[in-house]
């Protein structure tokens, strides 16, 4: 199926980006290679690990299976866009407080997933956290700490 380059406009982390890319290419590939936003990671390319999670209009999506063209005219937030004016987002702070990472490769996706969860459910139970993040994989096995980090973040944000 031949697809061709076309103009796509995406607001990424607050700046408007004009891109000439194959619109069927994954948003992940465009973010990483064209925009050099390498904080978003490739883990599986099939929507199964969550490493590539970003927010599109505030909703968590798996950017590895999300065609760049679908982001046209929309707002994308990546891990790089989370801190505001040099201040970390409460979820980022909570990950630091709980030391909720080892290799750190899954961390950006985990953080974006947690941000999206807390937007919808500011006070999730442990079970809700486990369910909401169930498709985010961490091979280093940091899950218990990530659960704690999300709980910490919820507490911070409700203040």
């Amino acid at each position: 199926m031949a697809s061709q380059s076309e103009g796509i406009q995406i607001r990424v982390n607050g700046s408007l980006c004009q891109l000439e890319v194959d619109s069927s290419r994954s948003l992940l590939s465009v973010l990483r290679t064209e925009l050099r936003l390498t904080g978003t990671k490739y883990g599986c390319g099939a929507g199964e690990c969550g490493a590539c999670t970003v927010l599109v209009d505030g909703e968590a999506v798996r950017s590895c299976i999300f065609p760049a063209g679908h982001a046209h005219g929309r707002t994308v937030t990546t891990i790089e866009g989370l801190a505001q004016g040099g201040r970390l987002h409460p979820v980022q702070e909570a990950f630091l407080e709980a030391q909720a990472f080892q290799c750190g490769y899954c961390t950006p996706g985990m953080i974006m997933g947690a941000v999206s969860l807390l937007r919808k459910e500011p006070n999730p139970t442990e079970l809700e956290i486990r369910r909401a993040l169930a498709d985010h994989l961490c091979r280093c096995g940091v899950y218990p700490r990530i659960i704690r980090a999300v709980q910490l973040a919820a507490a911070k944000m409700s203040k």
Partner: protein, 706 residues
Amino acid sequence: MSEDVGQQREVPINRAGMTRREFLRLTGGVIVLFALAPAAEPGTEGQPGPDSAEDLNAWLRIQPDGRVTIFAPAPEVGQGLRTSLAQMAAEELRAPVSCVEVVLGDTARAPRLAPDPDQPTLSAVGMRVRAAAAEARELLAAMAAEKWDVSRELVKLDGGQVVLLPRPGTAVSIGELIGGRRFVRRLGRPTPLTPPSEHQIIGESIARLDGPAIVRGQARYVGDVLLPNMAYAKLLRPPCLGARLVRADTRAASAQPGVIAVVHEGDLIAVVASRPNLAEKATRHIQATWEEGAHPEMSTLYQGLRASAELAEPARQQGDVEAALAGARRGYSASYRAAFIAHAPIEPHGAVATTEGATVVVYASTERPFAHREGVAEALGLRASQVRVITTAVGGAFGGKDGPEISVQAARLARAVGRPVMLTQSREEELTWNYFRPAALIDVRCGVGETGGIIAWDCDVFNCGARGAWPPYGFPHRRLRSYRCNAALRQGPWRGAGGPANAFAREVHLDHIASELGEDPIDFRLRHLSDRRMIRAIQAVAERYGWRVHRPPTGLGVGFACARDGGSCVAEIAEVEVERLSGQVCVRRVVVAQDSGLVVNPDNLRNQIEGAVVMGLGFTLREAVRYEQGRVLTRSFASYPILTFRDVPRIDILLPASRDLPPNGDGTPALYAIPAAVANAVFDAVGARVRELPLPPASIRAAANR
């Protein structure tokens, strides 16, 4: 902070082996070097490389302004090495951690250290860093003592300066002491390390120094490297394992958009393109003819191991096992198995290579940068000093990234196209084309004597190696034979190698004997143990859990197992719930007590142990590489399911420490005991004795309903 690879150009890359020497000539300060003649200086058994340039690489440098830089051969793979090393250096130098910068895994800047599979990285590298820092401290103290004309005991380092003890307020900064001169010391003679009772920084839960970069998405992994003019490569993979490329028509692929070159050099065939997606697309246009070899079949795996076995090393023995078995009151024999498993890091393998004149620089995701350097040098016909490997942040490795293959492939491609090349694997490639943890087959024969204690233990280990197989118990007659086998799949290093499988066999077997004899599993082990550290760890978990054995068939069970690995003792209790009809196991709680010697950073060690429990539960419950007709079937996270948020139990960790021993703490020991603790808990829950990993629900169901 994690190294910004973009800034590492400060060391001219075309002089990969020379930079350190030049740097040494130029810079003032205190420099502590690797021992030049390791054989002559006991205590530093590190080997100089094939090329002697790296002998001049330093472990530590103190600049005249008091800033300290540590150079270590191992990279950060998530085990918190950077932070732990900074703590160890700061402790010995009595300086704040913030003064210490740690440079990891750069072969042009770090001393080479021969890998020792039995010594955890933290202790191998950490003890040298401590020794280097202590050496520097003693040198500075001696200089100050001389300056004030007092004895060494009357001065001490404190907060980045040297103070005169009898006269508070009299101090000299390190810069003033050094005074623009350069002092070089070699590691080798014993230097007094700070005794544990005086530790102020070692033993503190200091937050990971690279944490802020990680949560901001700024940690730089190999896929994040960008070099000017860099191209992206994709390999063409064979249709099945062991297939050989006969010929390839690359014309159509070469004409695809974005393609820079199709490289076909012997066994290597790849597309190099301007964009990763274009490289991948173009590989589909290569017309390749393959010759398929023998097809490995999973159904005959264990027969194949037994049939091809050859003794790998002389048997290890004590006493006379055969005679003791013959004279035993009762005998117990069984075979245990463990499947091939994958490392499955979330970051697949990758490398970026660039050639400049006669030298090659590789940005690598590995735990063994020096092995990658030597692999690349050999493949390209270069001297080791012509190759520089710079390790980036590593997104999980677990032993899977030790082998240099991907760095070699990237280097060959970069040389072929004459520009920097990034080569990364897809998830499917990651799970198919790398080596796996060896499958294991373990036979145990055991004899119990008149007093109900074990008198003979005979263990034959097929394919997975003898690590962790020698029992930590005082059985009077013991024998261990380890066999090399023809394995169907490629296999290689994995955290703890055969240790978890060997511990599984032993600890399930002991549980079986204890239950046959009507003994409590923990008491039964304790009567065969004399190691005080192990006994203490066992008592600690038993007490924390509130150990008591359930009796079948409650559906709820508790199991115990313990193990020893590389200077660590670990004891674990698992609590499970088994669904009788399906054979599904849900692990509800795990308690671990691990004594790893000196604990450098308790929170970090807990993190490692939690992670090991989670990973261990994965290969206990469900991970297995499946294959058929030479094709790996488990090529995605859907078919190779690692543990998820849904499966994680409550985990309690106890750290009974032995502060006088080296810091052996990582997560590996905790991996050893988890499979048997769970299997024994399953037996406790439903009376099913399962001797295979992963624990097959069908066997549990069948045994439970027998």
